[in-house]
Structures are given as C-alpha cells and as structure tokens.
C-alpha cells in the first residue's frame, strides 16, 4: 500500500470512513447471500439499490415533501430562536420568566404532542412544520443565548470605557462573539428539524395524510416492502448528512478567518 497517501491527513479523513463503509456493505451483502436471508427480513445492499432505482420517482417526490417541511421548520426555528435569544439577553426578567417554558418545550416528547397539534391545526403541512420547529428550536435559543453572554470581559470593559451604547455593544461585540455558538446550534438544529419532520409525518401518516418519506416507510412496513423501507431510510440518512455538511460549510465560511474551531 502507498504509505504517502496514508500520511496525508486530508486523504485519510475521506478514505478511512469510506473504506470502512465499503467493507461493512460487503460483509452485509455477503452475509445476506451466504445465509440466504429473506428479503422481507433484511434486504441485501444490492436489493436496496435496485429498489432505489426502481422507485426513484416515488421516493424523490416524497423526499421533496419531507425536505420542504424540514426547511420551513428549520428557517422558522432559526428566526424564532434568535429572536427569543435576543429578547432573553436584553432583559433578565424576561429570561427568568420565559426560559423554564423553553425547557418544558424541549423536554416534552414531540411524539406525545404531535397528534394534538395535528388535530388542532387544520393544514397538515403547517401542523407538521410546527412539530418540527418545536424540536429544532431549543438548541438555537440556548446556544445563541450562551454566545451572546460569552463576551470577553476585557473587551466589554473597553467598550464601556469608550462609552459605547447598548446597540453598539450588541452589534459590534455580542453578535460577533455569539456567532461560533450560533453556528454550533445551527448544526444540531438542522438535524433535529429533519428528525422532527419525520416524526410529524409518522404521526400524521397514521391519519392517512400527506406523503413524505416517513409515510413511505410506514406504508412499506405495512406492505412488508422492506427494501423500499430501507431505500427511504437511506434517503433520509443522506439528507441528514447533507444538511450537516451544508451547515459545517456555512460555519467554515463565516468563521474560517478567525475562529479556532474552523482552523485547519
């Protein structure tokens, strides 16, 4: 083996997980064939790929439904989360009185309240967006608050010494200081928005509405169409990875010049 490639950290970072993935898939494929596992129990990777190709149109249109909900929920969570964080940071009273309820929202299992939301809100898409937003909201709020408060005390003194007003401190000190934390929240939240969308679709899907990827999984489960179930799962996973990658790139683009976390 060429050891020069192994020594380059960038190459290893791509090749090592890729090699492991291929190996796992090969073992999976081999076990399925050797043990003659029935396709409705565990389909082989080749079966899943075949289904992905065969059901491509159906699955992609479902993916689009799920993506739409994820995207709307994520945007809503960012807007609401940032607004809430600013509000909380401006006034102690506001934070003290509202933050416990933000935690209540966070710890309430979304599966438990999703049926209620879906009953209360007439438009099913909107209902699912609300569910996913609730899941994605908290990391944005808590991380942005943490960031807005994580201001170098020396710099704060410098601003005070130069008689900076509240607005100048916010715009020129608190917001830039909060960015690394905000982007951290964004990464967690993007994944949670997808999970929230899938959970909401599951709940709504049992009621027979809409046709997102989770609905396809449900249906495939009922029909014992396990390869399609896996194919839908693969699409969701890749969507999650894609979201994370986009957020990581966004973070790198915004902080790459100065923040330690994005130095390579």
């Amino acid at each position: 083996m060429n050891t020069a490639i192994l020594r380059s950290p960038a190459a290893v970072r791509v090749s090592a997980p890729l090699a492991l993935g291929v190996l796992m898939l090969a073992v999976w494929q081999l076990l399925c064939e050797l043990l003659d596992v029935p396709v409705f129990l565990v389909p082989a990777p080749s079966d899943i790929v075949a289904t992905l190709v065969a059901d491509w149109n159906l699955l992609v249109s479902s993916l689009m439904v799920t993506l739409k909900i994820t995207f709307l929920a994520f945007c809503l969570a960012v807007v609401l989360g940032v607004a809430a964080a600013f509000l909380f940071v401006q006034s102690r009273l506001m934070e003290v009185s509202l933050f416990p309820y933000a935690i209540v929202l966070q710890v309430t299992p979304i599966v438990a309240i999703a049926p209620l939301i879906i009953i209360w809100v007439k438009n099913p898409t909107f209902a699912m967006v609300i569910c996913a937003t609730l899941v994605a909201l908290f990391p944005i709020i808590s991380n942005t608050i943490l960031g807005l408060r994580s201001v170098n005390p020396g710099l704060l003194n410098l601003f005070r010494l130069n008689r900076a007003n509240r607005w100048q401190v916010l715009r020129r000190l608190r917001i830039p200081s909060a960015l690394p934390y905000f982007f951290g929240g964004l990464r967690i939240s993007s994944g949670l928005a997808l999970i929230g969308a899938v959970v909401a679709e599951f709940v709504a899907g049992t009621g027979g509405t809409s046709s997102g990827l989770a609905y396809q999984i449900l249906q495939a489960g009922f029909q014992l169409n396990i390869p399609r179930l896996f194919a839908a799962l693969v699409l969701i996973t890749f969507t999650g990875i894609l979201l994370f990658t986009v957020m990581a790139m966004l973070s790198k683009w915004a902080l790459g010049g100065w923040h330690e976390s994005e130095m390579s």
């Binding site: 010494l161 020129r172 000190l173």
Partner: protein, 277 residues
C-alpha cells in the same frame, strides 16, 4: 464617585514635575468588595500632567483596582477621585486604557481593532484612517494592518492594543500590566519603545506593574504599594535620563533605584509578617 472639576491641590510628593497641574487626584480612596476583601485602604495619589507614574506592588495590593477606578470602570467604596475635566472632544474620550491582555476582537483585522474606539465615537472613516496609520506606525505594525490578531505574536498583539489606545490621541494613558504576559526580552523591547513614545508625545501615563525593573526603567515616579490591605507605602521619583535605553538598564543609577524600591517592598513585607505573628 465625584469627578470634580475644581482646581486641585498639588500632591505631597516633590519631584521635577511637581509644579505641573494635577490630572488625577485620588483622596482617601478605599475599596472593599461585597465579599469583604479589603482591596485598597485609604490611598492618596496625585498624577500630574506629563508624568509617567508606575503603580508598583505585589498581587493584591490594589494597584489594578486603583487604575480601574481612574478609568471609571470601578467605583471607590469611600474617598474621592477627581479628574481634571476631560477636554471637550467630539472624537471620543481624552483617556485610553491598555489592558493586561491584548483584548483584541478576534474576528476583526488589526486595522479594524485599532479603529474601534474611533468608530464608537462616530469619527468618520476619512478622518480615522490617517490616525490609524499613524498609530500603527508608532508601534511598528504598519505592515500588519491586514492581519487577524491570531496571526500575530503575543508582543505584536500587545503593540496592536497600544496602537488602539494611541489612535484615540489621549492625553492620559492608563496601562494595566500590559506586558505582564510577555517574556522578558520582548517586554524590554516594548518598554524601550513605550518610553520613547511617551518622551516624544508627552502624554500622561499611569502604568501598573509588578516588575521593579520595569517600573524603574519607565517611570518618572513610582508609587510603591503593599498588600493585605492594599495601601501606598512609598512614592519615589526616578530622576533618570530623559532618553532611556539599554545603557540605562545597566547603569549603577538604575540598580540603585531598584534597590530603593526593593527595600520599601521588603520592609512592608516584614511588617506584615510581624503583624501576623
């Protein structure tokens, strides 16, 4: 705190600059923190125009506290600090401070960091740019305006921090152990440059340090302080050459001043120990 505008009495300390007007006068200033720490006990200090005064003492002697009170960042528990009225300026304050750390904004390039106090005072860009160039020139960072702080060494970051203070063109410069985190050789170089700047520009400097050598090298007067409780124990005029460099550092005059200051500190320390036993 009362920042009185009245003419202030000259302080009790004789020295070559004693005829000049007093810029900052602390009278009977005490600081006790809510947790009971007695940081400073009845300090009387007068800073005259154009002086380079060092506040020298061990940790916990209240020297940084006193400086922060001069800056208005902390309030005395009792006593008064009277500042000469700051000149009316539309471009911000007549006072600048350099902190223990460089405290640069990591997301902003050096130029933008230096521009900050001017921006906060709404100085238009067209006017701030020449002042920034001048300040960077003075500290020898002209080539590094486009760097991010992390790209600079510790000493260069401190230079940028000083440039930020100089861009304000302050008549009073407060410095809180600015070179404490640097190695001795970098510190000596920065001390030499700082003294040259002070000598050329003639602003007033109040400089907090725990290095006897640094205090002697830089100052026209050293206020010696002791800890537990923080208090002023001596006030020593340093009658060194106007222009100071490495020659001054190795002169017998320099060593003599160091010994005088050490003696004050040792005596205070001994008294403290006797008080405990």
């Amino acid at each position: 705190m009362k920042r009185e505008l009245e003419m202030m009495m000259p302080g009790p300390h004789a020295g070559p600059l004693c005829g000049r007007e007093v810029v900052i006068q602390a009278q009977g200033v005490e600081k006790t923190y809510p947790n009971g720490t007695h940081a400073l006990d009845r300090a009387d200090v007068a800073i005259r125009k154009g002086e380079f005064v060092s506040l020298l003492g061990p940790s916990g002697c209240g020297k940084s506290t006193l400086l922060k009170m001069f800056a208005g960042l902390e309030q005395p528990s009792s006593g008064t600090i009277a500042m000469q009225a700051e000149a009316e300026r539309s471009d911000g304050r007549d006072m600048a401070m350099v902190f223990q750390e460089a405290t640069l904004m990591p997301w902003a390039r050096v130029t933008e960091n230096v521009r900050l106090p001017l921006d906060l005072a709404h100085v238009p860009r067209s006017q701030s740019q020449p002042r920034i160039d001048e300040a960077l020139e003075m500290v020898g960072l002209s080539q590094f305006g486009n760097c991010y702080p992390r790209e600079l060494s510790g000493g260069m970051q401190m230079r940028a921090s000083i440039a930020r203070a100089l861009a304000v063109r302050p008549s009073v410069l407060l410095m809180d152990e600015p070179f404490g985190a640097l190695d001795e050789f970098t510190r000596n170089r920065l001390d030499t440059d700082l003294h040259r700047l002070w000598e050329q520009r003639g602003f007033t400097v109040v400089f907090v340090t725990h290095s006897i050598y640094e205090a002697v090298f830089l100052s026209s007067r050293v206020v010696v302080m002791a800890a537990r409780p923080g208090r002023v124990i001596a006030d020593v005029a340093i009658d060194g050459p106007a222009q100071r460099g490495d020659d001054f550092r190795v002169s017998s005059e320099f060593i003599d001043y160091c010994r005088v200051l050490s003696e004050h500190l040792v005596r205070a320390n001994r008294g403290e120990r006797e008080a405990v036993h």
